[in-house]
């Protein structure tokens, strides 16, 4: 893709990611948040956090499968938007549910398993958001940066567990996200196994032809 085209596509992806937030604001403005506004807002933000986590995980497989390497240029933005929605989601818990009663919050996070899992998912995203800049990639070095950013696998699993544990009986959506995450992680395992089985195709491990 040409540079200009990528820049424009970035604007579009940015607006797409921001769209749900603007939609939520619109519904707030219109007092159209159902009889239980907090539940609506909290679920809406949680839904978009997990959706964007799945999209972020899908970037690498999609760029290979669709032969669209330029997709990588949108991954950071989508990941940061996932973090943005997850933070707002957490804020609804801290503010609307708990009224910033940190004594209660500190007891609640370890006590209720689904809250523990959600919290773990969010905490694992913090180092990724902090080191998402080009400067940090340079400082850490590509390889170490990549290792660190595998924490997103943990986030995705914890987010699915969080969702699965919190639903009352209708497990269709947590199962759907669980399946998507399982497929996307299986892709990683698959490529790793393939790379290991054929070490010579990997240029880094290839032995010099003449010793």
């Amino acid at each position: 893709m040409a540079m200009a085209k990528i820049r424009w596509t970035k604007v579009v992806v940015f607006l797409l990611c921001l769209g749900p937030f603007l939609w939520l604001g619109w519904r707030f403005w219109n007092q159209d948040l159902t009889a239980n506004p907090t539940e609506f807002i909290q679920h809406f933000l949680g839904d978009w956090a997990i959706r964007l986590i799945v999209v972020t995980l899908a970037v690498t497989p999609l760029r290979k499968l669709l032969h669209l390497p330029a997709l990588i240029r949108f991954r950071r933005m989508i990941g940061l938007f996932a973090f943005f929605y997850a933070c707002l989601h957490f804020l609804t818990y801290l503010w609307l549910d708990k009224l910033f009663d940190f004594g209660e919050i500190l007891k609640d996070i370890p006590k209720r398993p689904f809250i523990t899992a959600g919290f773990a998912a969010l905490v694992l995203m913090i180092p990724l958001a902090l080191t998402s800049t080009a400067g940090w990639i340079r400082r850490l070095g590509g390889r170490r940066w990549q290792m660190l950013h595998r924490l997103i696998y943990g986030t995705a699993v914890a987010a699915v567990v969080h969702y699965y544990w919190l639903v009352k009986s209708d497990i269709r959506l947590p199962l759907l996200y669980g399946t998507l995450v399982a497929v996307l992680l299986a892709y990683r395992v698959g490529t790793w196994l393939v790379a290991r089985a054929r070490p010579r195709t990997s240029p880094k491990r290839a032995q010099p032809a003449i010793s």
């Binding site: 009889a35 239980n36 907090t38 609307l96 689904f114 639903v167 009986s169 209708d170």
Partner: protein, 317 residues
């Protein structure tokens, strides 16, 4: 106050003060300019009306707390037969056929019989009962129900000495309720609930045929449901077709589904917190904040606590 309005004003035409108050409270910190004009908008005219009930008898059991709007109570429902999302029953229950309707009252009784809806409506004067309604999901509302004590109906069939519990069953029909399948909703159907006989005979236990002065809309459990205000909302079974008096504790839907979260009694209790829920406080809708302290027995302790004398409510939750 709402109840002092002339008879012919529909509940939906006035927005209870509480809604304004709550909105003001929440929005206090937000620039006033942003809000200009918004509060002038009252809830839109309602599309989901039932038919008007004859003049209701006022009840001393009613609360004077601010009521929720008709809109809130008819567009936000847990009624898994019509979908597991809160906005689904209002959409998918509209064609629910509730006429003709009969309720079979049977089991350990001297005179088992079927009641038509007409008979139920005429059995006793219909009272207005304004109750607090507390969901296990830690939100609560105040609703002006219409009906009479279940005991009135039960006395008609003369429970025998073997009757110790009352088992209720909801209507179930996949043709009208295509989502009422375990693979979809994750619970078994038909929905079943139960009370101990002394609970069922308590005057507060309401056999409910209406709300806001009208018959029940389908998504709220038409044509006849229970309202047991000191228990979590799921105990108040909807669209009842069978009431059976039995000798031992009957199975109940949510307890069968996740016994760690839901007990047979499920009395509202801020001191019983199975891991899924935090019941110490609740959100009095439409407030945004979960800052309303939960009262034991949902504030009906003076009337019902004696039913549970000597019971360990932490074990028998």
């Amino acid at each position: 106050m709402l109840i002092k309005k002339p008879e012919d004003i529909r509940y939906s035409e006035v927005t209870p003060k509480s809604i304004y108050l709550n909105r003001r409270r929440f929005l206090a910190g937000i620039p006033a300019a942003f809000l200009a004009g918004r509060e002038l908008l009252s809830p839109s005219a309602r599309a989901l009306a039932g038919s008007k009930l004859p003049a209701l008898v006022k009840s001393p059991l009613s609360t004077t707390e601010a009521q929720n709007s008709y809109n809130d109570v008819t567009r936000y429902n847990n009624f898994y037969e019509f979908g597991t999302q809160k906005d689904q029953p209002a959409k998918y229950a509209q064609k629910f056929k509730t006429d003709p309707w009969t309720v079979s009252v049977e089991g350990e009784v001297a005179k088992p019989r079927k009641f038509t809806m007409d008979e139920i409506l005429k059995l006793s004067p219909i009272e207005e009962r304004i109750y607090r309604h507390r969901c296990v999901e830690a939100w609560s509302i105040v609703v002006p129900w219409a009906g009479y004590s279940l005991s009135t109906l039960l006395k008609q069939v003369e429970p025998t000495s073997k009757a110790k519990y009352v088992a209720f069953e909801s209507y179930w029909d996949l043709k009208q309720m295509p989502m009422a399948r375990p693979e979809i909703a994750g619970i078994k159907f038909p929905y079943v609930e139960g009370l101990r006989l002394d609970e069922a005979m308590h005057p507060l236990a309401l056999l409910c045929v209406g709300m806001y002065g009208e018959t029940l809309p389908p998504q709220d459990g038409a044509p006849v449901r229970m309202v047991v205000p000191w228990k979590y909302g799921f105990k108040s079974i909807k669209s009842i077709v069978k009431i059976k008096l039995v000798a031992s504790e009957p199975p109940t839907t949510w307890k069968m589904s996740v016994p760690e979260w839901y007990g047979f009694y499920s009395n509202v209790n801020p001191n019983v917190n199975p891991v899924r829920w935090n019941q110490k406080t609740e959100r009095r809708l439409p407030s945004f904040f979960q800052n309303h302290p939960t009262q034991i027995f949902n504030g009906y302790g003076d009337q019902v606590a004696s039913l549970y004398a000597g019971m360990d409510l932490k074990k028998l939750y």
